[in-house]
C-alpha cells in the first residue's frame, strides 16, 4: 500500500536548512492501522503532509498504491488526494455554510460524480458514522464529536486506499474521542488502511502498530498485539444508525 524509502524533507527557510524528516524507510500494508506518535517538531506533521501528498519530499521515494507519487505534478497530486487519500483533521475543517450532506459530497465534486450518485454515497457514508438523521444540519448545529464524524464520512466517501487522520481526537472530549476511535476501528475491521497521528498514548493504543518519531527520525517501532477496543457507545441521537456500525 505505502512503500517509503529514504524519504526526507528539508526546509531552507532560514539560514540553516531544517531537516524535518530524515531518511525514512517505511512500509504500510493494506488493512493496517498505524499510529504515529512524537512530540511537536518530531516530524510527524511533515510525514503526514508527505504521505497525504500535500507536500513533496526533497529526497527518497514514495510509492502509494503502486504509483510513484514523487514524480507527479500538481494536478496529478490533486487527483491522488481526491481518490486515494481521505483526510481527517484535528480542527475538523468542515465548511460552515454547508450542511453535513454537502460537506460529505465535497470530494466527489472534484472527480465528476453525478449529482444523484453523490447524494446517495454521501447519505450512505453519513449513516455509516451514525448521522443519518443529521444530514441537513450545519456544523454549528452539531456537537464536536458529530462534526468529526461528518469529517470521517467525508474522508471515506470517495473510497480512498488510505485514511490520514491528524490528531482527530485532539479537539474532542474523551467520550467523543472514543466514539471517533470506535468508528476508525470499525472502518479498519472492514479493511480500511489508517494512519493516525496523535500525541496521546491512550489513543495510539487503539492501533496495532505505533511509530515513534523524534527529531525527524523514526526512533522506535512498537507492535501492539492487542489494541484497545473502543466500544461504540450508544449515541443518543441516532441509535439505529449506530447499531448498524456496531453490528458488523
Amino acid at each position: 500500500m505505502i512503500r517509503v524509502a529514504g524519504l526526507g524533507k528539508t526546509y531552507n527557510s532560514g539560514e540553516h536548512p531544517v531537516h524535518a524528516l530524515k531518511d525514512l524507510d517505511l512500509n504500510i500494508k493494506p488493512g493496517e492501522f498505524v499510529a504515529v506518535m512524537g512530540p511537536s517538531g518530531s516530524g510527524k506533521s511533515t510525514l503526514m503532509n508527505l504521505l497525504g501528498c500535500l507536500d513533496t519530499p526533497t529526497s527518497g521515494a514514495y510509492i502509494l498504491d503502486g504509483v510513484d507519487v514523487t514524480r507527479l505534478g500538481d494536478g496529478d497530486l490533486a487527483a491522488v488526494r481526491n481518490r486515494k487519500i481521505g483526510f481527517v483533521f484535528q480542527n475538523f475543517n468542515l465548511l460552515p455554510r454547508m450542511t453535513a450532506l454537502r460537506n460529505v459530497e465535497l470530494p466527489m465534486l472534484y472527480c465528476g460524480v453525478p449529482a444523484q450518485e453523490r447524494r446517495e454515497r454521501a447519505l450512505q457514508a453519513l449513516s455509516m458514522v451514525g448521522l443519518k438523521d443529521r444530514v441537513h444540519h450545519r456544523p454549528n448545529q452539531l456537537s464536536g464529536g458529530q462534526v468529526q464524524r461528518v469529517a470521517i464520512a467525508r474522508a471515506v466517501v470517495n473510497r480512498p486506499v488510505i485514511i490520514m487522520a491528524d490528531e482527530p481526537t485532539g479537539n474532542l472530549d474523551s467520550r467523543s474521542g472514543l466514539e471517533v476511535m470506535a468508528i476508525f476501528q470499525d472502518l479498519n475491521r472492514k479493511g480500511a488502511t489508517i494512519v493516525l497521528v496523535t500525541h496521546e498514548r491512550d489513543i495510539a493504543l487503539h492501533a496495532a502498530r505505533i511509530l515513534h518519531f523524534k527529531d525527524g527520525l523514526l526512533v522506535e517501532e512498537e507492535i501492539n498485539p492487542s489494541p484497545v477496543q473502543a466500544l461504540p457507545t450508544p449515541i443518543n441521537t441516532s441509535e439505529g444508525a449506530e447499531g448498524e456500525v456496531a453490528g458488523r
Binding site: N49, G52, L54, D55, D74, G75, A78, A79, R81, N82, R83, F87, F89, N93, L95, R97, M98, L106, P107, L109, Y110, C111, G112, R154, N158
Partner: protein, 393 residues
C-alpha cells in the same frame, strides 16, 4: 468542480453576507445604471431631434456662396433668373426660392417692431412647409407683379396689430407700405423656439425696397433621396452660368441630420465613458472584497485542495464568484438604469429608448468586469500552499 456548483457556492456566500455583497457591488450598480440611463436618454434625445428634423423636412437644401473662396462680394453671385434656369435644368428640384434676409423696422397699427424681413418667392411656402393660420401665402403673380403684400408670423402680428384682425392691415417697411395677406401659425417645433419675428415679402419687391441682391437659394425635391444629388446639379448650373467654379456650396437637411446624428452619438459616447469609469471603480471595489474574501477563506481553499481540488478548480470557483457578484450588481444596476431612464424621459417628455443590445452589452460588460477584476484574487487563492492554508485560522 462543475460550474453550477460554483455558482451555488457563490450565491450562498452572497446571501450569507447580504450587506457586504450589496456594498461591494454598489460601484457596478451605479456604473451599469448610469450607462443604461445615459444611453437610453441619449437615444431618446436623438430620436426627438430626428423627428423634429423630419418635421422641418428632410428633402430641403440651401445653396450659398462660399465666402472663403470669394475675395469680395460683388452682389452678382446669384440672380433672380437663376431660379427658372435651375428648375428647368434640374427637374427633380420641385421648388426653389431665392432668400434675401435683412432686419428692419416694421411699423404696424399698434407699434413698430424690429423683425427679419425675408424676400422669397411663392415656392417658399412649400419648401419651409409654412402653416398658414389665416389668409394665404403670396402667389407667383404677386411676386412677378411686384405687389406689396406681406405674410407675417403669428406672434409678430400680435405685436404689430394687437387684437385687431391682421389680414388686410397695413404695415410699413422702409417707408414702403404692404398689405398683410397671410398669418403663419406658430410652429410647434422644439428647434424653432426663440426665433426672431418674421415677415415674408415677395423677393421682387424686396430687391426694390432694399437692394438688388440675392442672398442664397433654398429648394426642395420630391423625395429626400434626390436632395443631395439635385443640390450638386444646381451648384453645377450656377457655376457654369456665373463662370465661378468652386464658388458655391450647398447644405442639405440630410447632411445636417447626419451631423446631428454624429453629434448626439459623440455626446452619448462621452457621457457613457464617464459612466464607464464608475464601472471601472466598481470593478476595483469587487476585486478588493474578493481579495479579502480569499484571505478569510484561506482554510477553505486549503481544505478543498486537500480534498482534491486542482489549482484550476479553485481559480474557476473564485472567478465565478466574482462574475456572479458583478452580474448581481449588473442586474440591480439595470433595473435602476431602466427605471431612471423612464423617469427622466417622462419628465423631459421624450421617449426612453432602451434597446436590447444596451441591456445585453451591460450584462456582458458586468461579466467581463467580474472576470478581469476576479483574476487577481482568484489567482491568489489558487496559488495558496495547501499545508499553509490548512494551518491558517
Amino acid at each position: 468542480m462543475n460550474i453550477l456548483e460554483s455558482v451555488r457556492v457563490a450565491l450562498e456566500g452572497i446571501v450569507a453576507s447580504k450587506l457586504r455583497s450589496v456594498l461591494t457591488t454598489l460601484g457596478i450598480v451605479i456604473g451599469i445604471a448610469a450607462v443604461i440611463a445615459v444611453v437610453a436618454i441619449g437615444q431618446g434625445g436623438r430620436a426627438i431631434l430626428m423627428a423634429e428634423m423630419e418635421k422641418v423636412g428632410t428633402n430641403i437644401f440651401a445653396v450659398f456662396v462660399d465666402w472663403r473662396k470669394s475675395d469680395e462680394a460683388t452682389g452678382r453671385e446669384f440672380s433672380l433668373n437663376d431660379i427658372d434656369v435651375i428648375k428647368s435644368r434640374v427637374p427633380e428640384i420641385t421648388h426653389l426660392s431665392p432668400v434675401n434676409n435683412t432686419s428692419a423696422d416694421v411699423r404696424g397699427t399698434r407699434k413698430s417692431i424690429n423683425a427679419q424681413v425675408l424676400g422669397v418667392n411663392a415656392d417658399m411656402a412649400v419648401i419651409r412647409k409654412l402653416n398658414l393660420k389665416s389668409g394665404r401665402f403670396f402667389s407667383q403673380d404677386d411676386d412677378l407683379g411686384k405687389r406689396r403684400v406681406a405674410v407675417v408670423d403669428e406672434s409678430l402680428a400680435g405685436d404689430l396689430f394687437g387684437r385687431t384682425e391682421p389680414l388686410g392691415q397695413r404695415v410699413v417697411i422702409n417707408d414702403t407700405p404692404f398689405v398683410v395677406v397671410g398669418v403663419i401659425a406658430k410652429g410647434d417645433s422644439l428647434l424653432g423656439f426663440g426665433e426672431n419675428p418674421r415677415i415674408y415679402i415677395p423677393v421682387q419687391v424686396w430687391t426694390y425696397v432694399f437692394s438688388n441682391f440675392v442672398g442664397y437659394l433654398e429648394g426642395s425635391t420630391a423625395s429626400k433621396d434626390q436632395v443631395t444629388d439635385s443640390m450638386n446639379k444646381a451648384i453645377k448650373v450656377l457655376e457654369r452660368r456665373h463662370q465661378q467654379p468652386g464658388l458655391y456650396q450647398g447644405e442639405s437637411m440630410e447632411q445636417q441630420m447626419q451631423s446631428a446624428n454624429k453629434i448626439t452619438g459623440v455626446m452619448t459616447l462621452i457621457i457613457g465613458s464617464i459612466a464607464g469609469i464608475s464601472l471601472l471603480v466598481g470593478g476595483i471595489g469587487v476585486m478588493n472584497i474578493m481579495l479579502v474574501s480569499v484571505t478569510e477563506r484561506t482554510r477553505e481553499v486549503g481544505l478543498r485542495m486537500a480534498l482534491g481540488a486542482r489549482r484550476r478548480d479553485i481559480l474557476i470557483q473564485f472567478l465565478i464568484e466574482a462574475v456572479v457578484l458583478c452580474l448581481l450588481g449588473g442586474a440591480i444596476g439595470m433595473t435602476l438604469g431602466v427605471g431612471g431612464a423612464f423617469l427622466i424621459a417622462r419628465l423631459a417628455h421624450w421617449p426612453p429608448l432602451i434597446s436590447w443590445w444596451t441591456v445585453f452589452v451591460a450584462f456582458a460588460f458586468s461579466a467581463i468586469i467580474g472576470v478581469i477584476f476576479g483574476i487577481l484574487p482568484a489567482n491568489k487563492a489558487a496559488r495558496l500552499d495547501p499545508i499553509e492554508a490548512l494551518r491558517r485560522d
